[in-house]
């Protein structure tokens, strides 16, 4: 094993949407040396790999950033940080203009104004959105990108971040990276629960299966305060292909119907969680399967839909082609996905202030790892990358970098050598991953239980996840890619424990499906208009309940 030690001013972990934009912001406003560590390759890594077909967070003419805050707050039934949403919303339009300057195609009318879809969306050709961002980053002289380097842990002592440890999966290298400030932008967590297609197509999931919750897990282990892990995200998707449904619902006005042809969406409500819940319920009551009604759309709409899906989720277009029937000739069957933890759609993630500073000094968070600020979509992640970038620049002006303790270096190197050493494990990483997903599916509100759970089940889930954590200590890797898989499994197990603790802590059901607690099936506004936060203290997850930040208030860390 080779060892490489690098020193930089600002380390960005994850070269996805938020990470790339943070790098661009820092380069434009300072001379700081920036290093991006990306576990794949920034050209197509993260959520944008296949492309996106719309920008879903934009302040359209006549609307204000506060309107966007109000919309996100309503969708999450109040459990959001208004200060975070507002600071994000104020930047949505400027980052959009920047994307257009970089080469993103955005649909305009004859007067040169963006054509909007509904109140918040712009129509684009987003197939190449990630290569556009990556090319912009690669041009920056002070920014170095290390592709295929997976960061596995932070270096933190006395609550001050000093850098991170990682592995080069293609060059068998142990990396020790020292930095004055760190921006974590690793995305959310997929693969905690058993997916819709658990067999050969197990990775045909909504969220990138390569986003394994690394940022959350590293923060949890380092004692960062986290928020709202109990607000899981479940997407309503096209069956089998797990392709988006918004393009059908908003683009061509397709309604959710049951097998009797009845429109059921109005019966349950139109928030994201209600749309999933309604679909689950119609199935339970014998009126499944459920569909989006595309029959009778026009030939021109058919053609446009086929293209739109190729630009973001090609499986769905292939499905239409294979079936020999166009969308107008068959309704599209829909289903809920397995639950994910993702701060870009719901509010799970780091507890941050408006500068996107976490509770660990020198560590900033942006995009799906940052909590309290749902409905980010692409532009919101860019906006948070921008804020985190500015904050890191300010931070390094006033703070000096510190060296990583040699003891921490030694223990990380030893851990890697242990995993790569003699194979004494009875189990493989794949087996333990499957076991984890089965546990979460059965006892922590997965697809198997229609997303429902009770306290007793959560206790069983936690006990079993702890057992799997123990077993994971003895896993063996033949090479550095397998080593990454061990670390990814361990990240997921860490996140699972926090999810279970949060689900258990909120004694109400505020969001159907997302957190459907059968012991407390009703919403309780008297006691639970609160954030459920947590921090790992001496190996135990300590729950911290905090009052809502709303109505123009701003939260700041005082520790």
């Amino acid at each position: 094993m080779k060892t490489e030690r690098i020193r930089t001013d600002i380390l960005i972990i994850g070269g996805g949407t938020a990470g790339c934009y943070a790098a661009m912001t820092i380069a434009e406003h300072s001379d700081a040396m920036v290093l991006i560590c990306e576990k794949a390759h920034i050209k197509r890594s993260g959520c944008l790999a296949a492309g996106v077909n719309a920008l879903n967070a934009y302040i359209t003419e006549g609307r204000t950033p506060q309107d966007y805050v109000d919309y996100a707050k309503k969708d999450a039934d109040g459990i959001v940080r208004e200060d975070l949403l507002l600071t994000m919303s104020e930047r949505l339009n400027s980052v959009t203009e920047k994307l257009e300057q970089l080469g993103l195609v955005i649909l305009k009318d004859e007067n040169g104004k963006y054509v909007t879809r509904g109140n918040r969306n712009l129509k684009i050709n987003g197939e190449n959105i990630k290569p556009i961002l990556a090319a912009a980053v690669e041009k920056l002289p002070n920014v170095t990108v290390l592709n295929h380097v997976n960061i596995t842990d932070f270096a933190v002592s006395e609550n001050r971040i000093k850098g991170a440890f990682g592995i080069g999966i293609e060059n068998d290298t142990f990396y020790i990276i020292e930095a004055n400030a760190v921006i974590v932008a690793t995305g959310g967590a997929a693969g905690l629960y058993k997916p819709n297609n658990p067999g050969f197509s197990r990775h045909k999931m909504w969220y990138p299966p390569f986003n394994t919750g690394a940022g959350y897990a590293m923060g949890i282990r380092a004692g960062a305060e986290m928020t709202t892990f109990e607000m899981r995200f479940i997407a309503l998707r096209c069956k089998d292909t797990i392709a988006p449904t918004g393009t059908l619902a908003q683009g061509v006005g397709a309604k959710q119907i049951n097998s009797l042809g009845e429109v059921y969406e109005t019966k349950y409500g139109l928030t994201t969680s209600e749309r999933v819940y309604g679909t689950v319920n119609e199935n339970l009551e014998g009126r499944g399967p459920c569909y989006l009604r595309t029959e009778s759309i026009t030939e021109e709409q058919n053609e446009s839909l086929m293209k739109a899906y190729l630009n973001m989720a090609p499986s769905q277009t292939l499905k239409w082609i294979e079936s020999g029937k166009k969308p107008s000739e068959q309704n599209v069957e829909i289903e809920g996905t397995e639950p994910y933890i993702i701060g870009g759609h719901t509010a799970s993630g780091y507890w941050v202030d408006t500068n996107r500073a976490t509770t660990i000094k020198g560590l900033f968070a942006g995009g799906d790892v940052a909590g309290g600020c749902p409905q980010k979509y692409v532009t919101g992640a860019l906006a948070e990358g921008e804020i985190a970038g500015f904050s890191a620049v300010e931070f390094i002006k006033q703070n000096n970098s510190e060296e990583i303790d040699e003891e921490a270096v030694r223990s990380h190197a030893e851990e890697i050598e242990r995993f790569l050493g003699e194979d004494k494990s009875q189990f493989t990483t794949e087996q333990l991953e499957e076991a984890m997903q089965t546990v979460m599916d059965s006892y922590a509100g997965g697809i198997r239980t229609n997303y429902r759970f009770n306290e007793k089940q959560l206790d069983i889930a936690d006990e079993k996840i702890v057992q799997l954590e123990k077993l994971s200590e003895n896993l063996h890797a033949d090479d550095f890619q397998e080593l990454m898989y061990i670390y990814e499994l361990r990240e997921r197990l860490t996140v699972c424990r926090s999810v279970i603790a949060h689900l258990k802590a909120r004694h109400e059901t505020r969001w159907h499906s997302f957190a459907e607690n059968l012991d407390y099936p009703e919403k309780d506004d008297v006691n639970w208009r609160k954030y459920v936060n947590s921090r790992l203290e001496n190996g135990e997850i300590k729950i911290i309940l905090r009052d809502l930040t709303e109505g123009g208030q701003t939260y700041e860390h005082f520790n």
């Binding site: 197509r44 050969f200 299966p209 446009s304 294979e322």
Partner: protein
């Protein structure tokens, strides 16, 4: 769902390996690309768009209703041609101009 790589066409340039968001594609001793972890493909088609000799094709797994059709892309300036060889022998082509926005 996963990809197939045609060894006879592969020129070993390594672009598919570089770009895969899961680093699932490796280059063997004969300088040919192969997918080492076919079950871990996300279906993003990034590799297909990179391949200069159109050696990579994408298909739906049988567990998600796939029937054996294969898709690849060919690039012609701003035009991406999405070519599907259907399981029944028919070829379906959809052309997308990258300079044109989605309408929905």
């Amino acid at each position: 769902m996963s990809i197939l790589i045609d060894r006879t066409k592969c020129v070993g340039c390594g672009k598919c390996h570089d770009v895969c968001p899961g680093t699932l594609i490796k280059i063997d001793a004969d300088k040919k690309a192969y997918i080492k972890y076919p079950k871990d493909c996300w279906g993003c088609t990034s590799c297909i768009k990179e391949c200069p000799v159109y050696a990579i094709k994408f298909y739906l797994g049988a567990d998600m209703g796939g029937r054996g059709s294969l898709v690849h892309t060919e690039k012609d300036g701003d035009i991406i041609r999405w070519i599907t060889e259907r399981f029944d022998g028919e070829t379906v082509e959809i052309k997308i101009n990258q300079k044109e926005s989605n309408k929905y």
